[in-house]
């Protein structure tokens, strides 16, 4: 019930934030209308990182407590994280084309790090899908999730260095550098979008967790059913 309320609130928040981002706040002086893409793009990226942090921590929780509920949280974080990562990359590309003239820039550490993030966690999800036993799956996923999370700062740092030591022109032309017409409104809208998306994220995390638990219960029941049937066959032979 509470979750349903959360969902409704999140929906209203997202709609409101979108309205503000598209109609209320003025366009950027240099980047024009394209700058509006920043709001959902940054929010998505933030939530992607948050999700994967949750996955890594939940993995540690499983390794420590051996409670499969931690694994359900990890799965939710990874799946939702992949989705927000995809959104972030898409937003980045849609913003890049009008502002940079290209959809992709190797020198942008955020874009390249996010792409790698996608690769890491799609791998994580595939690994899960290929393992059938719940405990083994949880353990494998946990350690892969931890190593992936540990890798992210290194990736970000090295791409920044990569960009920094590259002795050529800066990204895009100087006249496309962010210049909000109303800085306070810009920040406010960004925070508002972030807040709205976070509420949506929370709602989705809860639902995905519930789904994971429901599926785990079914898996467990099926496993016990098999064992029971095998036992019965044994006894009646």
């Amino acid at each position: 019930m509470m979750t349903r309320v959360l969902g409704a609130v999140a929906l209203v928040a997202v709609v409101a934030a979108t309205f503000v981002a598209l109609r209320v706040v003025p366009p950027d002086v240099n980047q024009g209308e394209a700058q509006r893409i920043m709001y959902p793009h940054v929010a998505s990226a933030w939530l992607a990182y948050l999700s994967f942090g949750v996955t890594a921590l939940a993995g540690i929780g499983w390794l420590w407590k051996r409670d499969l509920r931690f694994d359900a949280v990890a799965l939710a974080g990874a799946e939702i994280g992949v989705i927000f990562t995809a959104f972030a990359i898409w937003g980045g590309m849609m913003w890049g084309q009008p502002v940079w003239g290209v959809m992709w820039q190797w020198e942008d550490p955020r874009l390249t790090t996010t792409a790698l993030l996608l690769a890491l966690y799609v791998g994580y999800l595939l690994l899960r899908r290929l393992t059938d036993e719940p405990e083994r799956r949880a353990t494998r996923a946990a350690i892969v999730g931890i190593v992936a999370a540990v890798d992210i700062p290194i990736v970000h740092f090295s791409v920044e260095w990569w960009r920094g030591l590259h002795q050529t022109a800066t990204i895009g032309s100087p006249d496309r550098i962010l210049n909000p017409a109303a800085p306070m409104a810009f920040v406010g809208t960004l925070l508002g979008m972030l807040g709205a998306f976070t509420l949506a994220w929370l709602y989705l995390m809860i639902r995905r967790y519930q789904l994971a638990r429901a599926e785990a219960a079914r898996e467990e029941a099926a496993r016990r059913g098999h064992l029971l049937r095998a036992r019965i066959i044994e006894l009646t032979e």
Binding site: L116, G123, I143, V144, V147, W161, W162
Partner: protein
């Protein structure tokens, strides 16, 4: 102190066991080397024939060849275990998990070092870059890169040891994690070839060291969980 020495002894024993198996089945190592050579040849066809472009691309091609061949090498080191559930047997011994990880990683490291040096030589010949002039920094880079690939590769080979579709899952899991190593190693190699005009070689080597430390620690810390119920 003595526990550490005992662990080190066990690690070396495992590494030696793997190395001996490798040497006896020598053709496996040789095939991996030839695979790397073929990859380099194909790079030449793909990006050539302009010698200048190839020379520019040489650092990247070197490390790509090493990484792709490295995947095969690391994959095989763990296959040796699956054949008779040796890995599970190993897990039953009261031996430190870290030691087992270190042993397997050392075996992987030995193969990666050989691979790296051979590929370095081949790149020098095929893409006309001056290896001899910068041999010390190049070797340092090779060693640091080999450590990282061995650490990460051993870890993921352990994860995928009994996984379905492991031939594609091992590279799929390993390669994204290795991206910073690739970046740093290529930059360091390029700087070494050029005589380090901007003085950036040290910075890239430091990044490699940091990557290696983080990955070895992470791998050693989590490998134990794999052996228990991975």
């Amino acid at each position: 102190m003595s526990a550490l020495r005992r662990d080190a002894g066990i690690a070396l024993a495992i590494a030696r066991k793997d190395a001996l198996s490798e040497l006896r089945g020598r053709h496996a190592t040789v095939s991996t080397l030839f695979f790397a050579a073929v990859v380099l040849l194909l790079f030449g066809f793909a990006l050539g024939p302009d010698a200048e472009r190839l020379a520019d691309a040489a650092p990247g091609l070197l490390w790509l060849a090493v990484m792709f061949a490295g995947i095969l090498a690391v994959n095989r080191l763990h296959l040796l275990e699956t054949d008779d559930d040796a890995l599970e047997q190993l897990a039953l011994y009261p031996v430190s998990r870290r030691a087992i990880y270190a042993g397997k990683a050392l075996g992987g490291l030995a193969v990666m070092l050989v691979l790296g040096i051979v590929v370095l030589g081949a790149v020098g010949i095929l893409f006309a870059v001056d290896v001899a002039g910068a041999v010390v920094p190049l070797l340092v880079t090779i060693v640091l890169g080999a450590i990282g690939i061995a650490a990460v590769g051993t870890f993921y080979a352990g994860v995928t040891v009994r996984l379905r579709a492991r031939e594609v899952m091992l590279p799929l899991l390993m390669l994204p994690v290795l991206a910073p190593l690739l970046l740093a190693a290529v930059k360091a190699t390029a700087a070494a070839f050029a005589g380090d005009p901007f003085g950036e070689l040290g910075a890239w080597l430091q990044l490699l060291v940091a990557f290696d430390v983080v990955m070895v620690v992470a791998g050693a810390a989590t490998y134990g969980f794999l052996l228990e119920d991975g």
